[in-house]
């Protein structure tokens, strides 16, 4: 294709992508599945919040009881121990990175724990949300109605963007709810700190999950049967988790430790880092994974019979 024809071709492709993105997003929002997924995600986050809150209060009560027994009671000692505990948990969650500990000092520890735990399960949630985005159209061949009027690349990107947009909205709703709860439960957690951290946490979750949305798009492009796409998606998530876990567990001297670099979850640690370089490196890794998965999905969809 010559240069003069390439520009309108690209513009037309972008227009198609936007039309598919908008239409698929409207359908997804109106469908019952969006509400079910929002309900599931909310319930899960609430459960984590409750369990973490209950554990924290139990530990606090036990420590206070011990202090009282040892005759070292008093609010000052209790507060000091609570702060030490908090630092311990923060250190554990941030791999003792002092810059991160400082940056997250104002964030209630429950919020951090909920964030970490929900982040672990977010890829599974993403898989449930979009496993049939392409296979659900290729199997019953309804994709044929689209491909006579739009490029396969536009169909792929439009579907990916609609999934990503829906996730963006759902994660924002849940994060907002968790932060509002944290603000009510912790009066010291000011409005400005809440808003800033909400934005940071939301951005981190989005950067993290976009690569998994792309992975789900790839799994959906690989198969005609939605159920097979879903199972394969979960297998991929397990393999990535295993690679990260094995890579971390073995010593640096083992070749296997390189495995962790091939797993997206390895790069999650620095998503809340205040340093632009650290956050940028993590973000770049996720962008690279997302691009790789989308490219593979496109090659698969482009080459296949519909």
């Amino acid at each position: 294709m010559d240069k003069s024809a390439r520009v309108p071709h690209t513009v037309d492709g972008l227009k198609e992508t936007v039309v598919i993105w908008g239409a698929e997003l409207r359908r997804a929002v109106r469908s019952g599945r969006a509400m079910v997924l929002l309900g599931l995600y909310s319930m899960f986050s609430a459960l984590v919040l409750l369990v973490v809150g209950w554990l924290a209060s139990e530990v606090r009560a036990a420590v206070n009881a011990r202090l009282a027994e040892a005759g070292a009671g008093g609010e000052e000692a209790s507060a000091r121990i609570a702060e030490e505990m908090r630092k311990g948990v923060l250190g554990f969650l941030t791999s003792n990175d002092t810059a991160m500990i400082e940056a997250l000092a104002q964030v209630p520890v429950e919020v951090l724990l909920v964030f970490k735990i929900t982040l672990f399960f977010l890829p599974a949630y993403v898989a449930l949300m979009g496993f049939d985005q392409l296979s659900g159209e290729v199997g019953p061949r309804s994709i044929r109605y689209l491909t006579v009027r739009a490029r396969r690349s536009s169909v792929l990107l439009g579907k990916f963007l609609s999934q990503a947009s829906m996730l963006l909205g759902l994660v924002l709703i849940i994060d907002l709810a968790v932060f509002i709860y944290a603000r009510i439960a912790n009066p010291d957690f000011g409005f400005a700190a809440m808003s800033l951290n909400l934005l940071k946490f939301w951005l981190a979750a989005i950067v993290f999950s976009l690569s998994y949305v792309a992975l789900t798009t790839l799994c959906s492009a690989l198969f005609r049967a939605p159920a097979v796409s879903l199972v394969f998606n979960f297998i991929m998530l397990f393999v990535f988790w295993l690679m990260d876990t094995v890579g971390r567990a073995v010593g640096e001297e083992s070749v296997l430790h390189f495995l962790r670099y091939l797993s997206p979850s390895y790069y999650a640690g620095n998503l809340l880092h205040p340093g632009l370089a650290q956050f940028g490196a993590s973000g770049a890794a996720y962008a690279a994974f997302a691009t790789l998965f989308i490219m593979c999905a496109y090659v698969t969809l482009r080459a296949r019979d519909l």
């Binding site: 037309d12 019953p140 309804s142 109605y145 006579v148 739009a150 690349s153």
Partner: protein
Amino acid sequence: MSDLAIELFGVSKRFGPKVAVDNVSLQVPLGVVYGLIGPNGAGKTTTFSMMCGYLYPSDGTVKVMDVDPTTPGALKGRLGALPQDAILPPGWDVGALLMYWARLSGLDNPEREARAALEKVGLLEAWKVQTQALSHGMAKRAAMAQALMGTPPLVLLDEPTAGLDPRIAAQVRQVIRDMKGKQTVVVSSHNLQELEELCDAAAILDKGALAQAGSMSELTGQDAEFRVQIARGTVIPPELTTMPDVTDARMEGEHVLVVRFSAKALPEEVISRVVGHLLGHGVLILGVSRGQRLEDRVLQLL
């Protein structure tokens, strides 16, 4: 720009060891209604799917409106297609779905196009009906409507009347008739009577291979033979073969005389001469028909 809407050259399609289409070459001129004929498993839908760019040929080349149909965006706005077994996506109102697709086709007024297309197939009342609630016939018509939106120069219809009640099937046939001369239409169907009535030309496929292709008169032999139904009297075929332009004459059963004639001859002259001869020899005639029915021709070939 050539005067061909579709050109297949040496096209084959294999699914693993199974050869669905085997070395098919055919040409569909612009502006005609063209039929794809053949029994189940003949390769009609596979050929149709390659024309639409859904399937890649294993061998050979397919050109649709002068372009490779698998080239991204190449046929946008130039092709309307009714795939045979594609299900309408669930969760949409029919009107909203058609508007979405019209927008995707880049049509100026999506709502007007969607309404006009639904009206053509008599389904305007289903504007607000969810796609999963449509009956088979309604879904078929909604799918047909999407192929008609924007009046594309080429419309491919795979089994457009299958499963429709006779009244709706007649309506769909009328829609195809209305497109004649304005758009190129390719129709795949089992209904040979329907195709004979609608099509200017056709290709007969059998077991993936092309059995014959040509204009409808070529296929049915309208310009090469006629049948005379005899009521009473004795016909002596050898007498007829001595007449100018008559190449063959034989009785098909007791009461049907089949006469073949030279392709260069004018049919009306040969028919008149033969009928005159028969009447002159005391033979009484019930009727004369040109060629043979498409169904008979297909049965003869397959």
